[in-house]
């Protein structure tokens, strides 16, 4: 009984993957009907997963655990390692970061400057923070606080902001929403140094502006009292859609690449004449498609 079952499975797999007489010398999985069925299945599966995701977010959704507390802790840890003083959470900067994140979701953009030309400094000033130095780091698509910090530290410009001795205050916003059609978690980090705190100590030269660092003189105002605003996104659905979709993606493409490769090797050995496309073309194309998931599954910083 077991042997019979085993033989049937073996025969089915051979029929599916190995070109032979029973499948007209072309792996069955590569036949037009099977390709068409696979396309139909993928389209139906995406509609099904989307529906479940909307109706039951506790079952299917993005898994993320990022908090401003952890961001502050890890930022200060990096600063201490570099011998720079710790940053203090500033309520105005946190408000500015929150307003920036809301603006990005509302106007659907991923940039330091909004499409209408609003710079990060507009949000900082609007929140009531009178700065002499300010900077902004942005991240999206990350699922843990550590991965956000690692990405910023790996980029020279973001690292410079993280470790700059020009800053004393910091504000964070961690928000989830839909940006450019993608459900994502946005992390906004606003750095600053109050005009007053610099003016009190030493007369400062204004640093040259960089892409993420602005320095403008501001009117002298009393320094605001620092408050602690905790922001966090902690989602833990039963099934993480990001992992689920990536796994399905990898399995489907790798199975087809394997079938094409096997088909090519066997036919080349058997020297069977047939009217089919070049398997190398298909393999190269599928490798390109496979590599794209890497682009779309990783977090991005600017």
């Amino acid at each position: 009984m077991y042997k019979c079952y085993n033989k049937k499975v073996k025969d089915f797999l051979s029929h599916l993957f190995i070109p032979r007489e029973s499948n007209n010398h072309r792996a069955k999985i590569l036949h037009h009907t099977n390709l068409l069925l696979t396309i139909a299945f993928l389209l139906l599966a995406s509609f099904f997963i989307q529906t479940v995701k909307v109706k039951y977010p506790s079952v299917l959704g993005i898994q993320a655990d990022i908090s401003s507390d952890q961001l502050l802790f890890l930022t200060n840890k990096e600063r201490q390692s570099a011998g720079v003083g710790s940053l203090v959470i500033n309520d105005e900067l946190s408000q500015a970061a929150s307003a920036k994140a809301d603006d990005m979701f509302q106007y659907n953009y991923w940039a330091h400057n909004s499409p209408s030309g609003k710079t990060p400094w507009v949000f900082i000033t609007a929140a009531g923070y009178k700065y002499i130095y300010a900077g902004e780091n942005l991240a999206r698509g990350f699922t843990t606080t550590q991965s956000v910090i690692d990405a910023w530290m790996a980029s020279p410009d973001h690292r410079a902001n993280m470790l700059s001795s020009n800053y004393q205050d910091v504000g964070f916003a961690v928000k989830s929403g839909n940006l450019n059609g993608e459900d994502t978690v946005l992390v906004v980090e606003e750095f600053g140094n109050l005009y007053m705190s610099v003016a009190k100590n030493t007369p400062q030269e204004i640093a040259p502006a960089k892409s993420t660092v602005a320095s403008v003189p501001a009117p002298v105002v009393p320094a605001p009292v620092a408050h602690k605003t905790v922001q966090a996104v902690s989602k833990n659905p039963l099934i993480n859609t990001s992992t689920l979709s990536s796994n399905i993606y990898y399995v489907f493409i790798l199975v087809f690449i394997f079938a094409l490769f096997l088909d090519m090797v066997i036919i080349e050995k058997k020297k069977v004449m047939r009217f089919v496309g070049h398997n190398i073309d298909h393999i190269l194309y599928l490798l390109l498609i496979l590599s794209l998931v890497g682009i779309w599954s990783k977090g991005v910083i600017i």
């Binding site: 396309i39 993608e182 050995k269 194309y285 490798l287």
Partner: protein
């Protein structure tokens, strides 16, 4: 064996590989999702047309082959649609 296959159509495969690499770099360097999708759709059209043209030049073009390239291209685009729609919300 692969060297034999590759050498048989070396310029053709080289061109295909170059276009695919450029397409990957273009998609990788951009953070604009719409642009990335545009690059992939354009590359898929190129792949289908390039494949058909190659068979035409080899005098072994058949309707079955045209359908095969279209279906593999469709499969690639369906995969992209799948990953983007599952992770996104359209």
């Amino acid at each position: 064996m692969f060297t034999k296959i590759l050498l048989r159509h070396n310029i053709y495969y080289l061109m295909l590989a170059v276009v695919f690499c450029l397409s990957f770099l273009l998609a990788y360097s951009s953070t604009d999702r719409i642009f990335q999708i545009g690059v992939i759709v354009a590359t898929t059209f190129f792949y289908v047309l390039w494949g058909i043209m190659h068979h035409l030049l080899n005098h072994d073009l058949h309707l079955k082959i045209v359908v095969e390239y279209i279906l593999i291209g469709g499969f690639g685009l369906a995969m992209i649609f799948f990953i983007l729609s599952v992770n996104g919300n359209h």
